[in-house]
């Protein structure tokens, strides 16, 4: 199993490279993962999406679709693709410490 090291702590990753244990997640770890994904700074909009995803996941057990992000996170589709380049749902889930979303949409 792959691991990542943040501030001297070794964290387990799943097969997709997402955090294996959600309990490991902290905001500092989110910043670290974002940096590795080519997002140097997390803005208020990033956090709005990350927190929305974490809330949905806590309630429903799966990360929300891009359609729900567009409709409910307060950040529109165009902006989502700008602030999380190359696939917003997948990338935001990774930064939020959640598994890759299962849905197709």
């Amino acid at each position: 199993m792959d691991t990542m090291t943040v501030a001297g702590k070794e964290l387990a990753l799943d097969a997709d490279g997402h955090l294996a244990n959600q309990s490991d997640w902290t905001e500092d770890i989110a910043r670290e993962i974002a940096g590795n994904e080519g997002i140097p700074e997390l803005t208020a909009q990033h956090w709005a999406v990350i927190n929305f995803m974490r809330n949905v996941f806590a309630k429903e057990g799966d990360a929300p679709s891009i359609r729900r992000l567009t409709k409910e996170s307060g950040v529109d589709t165009k902006t989502l693709y700008q602030i999380f380049p190359k696939g917003p749902a997948k990338r935001a889930a990774k930064i939020a410490g959640l598994p890759k979303p299962k849905g197709c949409i």
């Binding site: 891009i66 359609r67 729900r68 589709t77 165009k78 849905g103 197709c104 949409i105």
Partner: protein, 174 residues
């Protein structure tokens, strides 16, 4: 000579197997059918490509154009006749209201799994950076005007232009 050619082709095969397959970078998706079940697969694949960071474009041709015609896009129907996948006798499928019934059932199920209506889906896909084109030949054949199309359409292009734009892409025909 034959022997040399065979050897060369063997070499190229073994070289190819050594390299890991390259991830798909770009897809050009053709939507040629105008039924609900004919249109959605292309839209879902285009949206899915963008979600994976893959460049995507959509090309609507023949009856597929209904999906980008403002007045028709949100009234597409499931085909209940000539569609063995419906598991319904043809004569039953032909009864008045049957297609409307099947369509409303399917739309309800799609909404449950977050598949948006065609109009909303196209806006989402276009906002995600996917280009949307209409086929020149079909537009001429059906005497369509620019104002018939939804705002997401980036242009009416010929087959030749489609191939130019699809340079380096995988072409998917639906």
């Amino acid at each position: 000579m034959t022997q040399i050619a065979a050897d060369q082709s063997l070499t190229s095969v073994s070289n190819a197997t050594e390299e890991a397959p390259q991830p798909i970078q770009k897809v050009s998706i053709i939507v040629s059918r105008g039924s609900l079940e004919g249109v959605y697969p292309g839209l879902i694949m285009a949206n899915g490509a963008r979600m994976e960071g893959i460049e995507a474009s959509l090309f609507f041709t023949f009856f597929g154009l209904d999906a980008i015609i403002r007045k028709r896009m949100d009234h597409l129907k499931v085909a209940t006749v000539g569609n063995p996948g419906m598991h319904m006798p043809t004569l039953l499928g032909a009864l008045p209201g049957m297609s409307a019934f099947a369509t409303s059932m399917m739309k309800k199920e799609m909404e449950k799994i977050d598949i948006p209506p065609v109009g909303e889906f196209l806006t989402m896909i276009h906002d995600a950076g996917c280009e949307v084109y209409a086929c020149r030949a079909t537009v001429d054949m059906f005497h369509l005007k620019p104002e018939d199309f939804c705002a997401e359409v980036d242009g009416v292009i010929s087959v030749g232009q489609f191939y130019e734009k699809a340079a380096g892409a995988q072409i998917i025909f639906t």
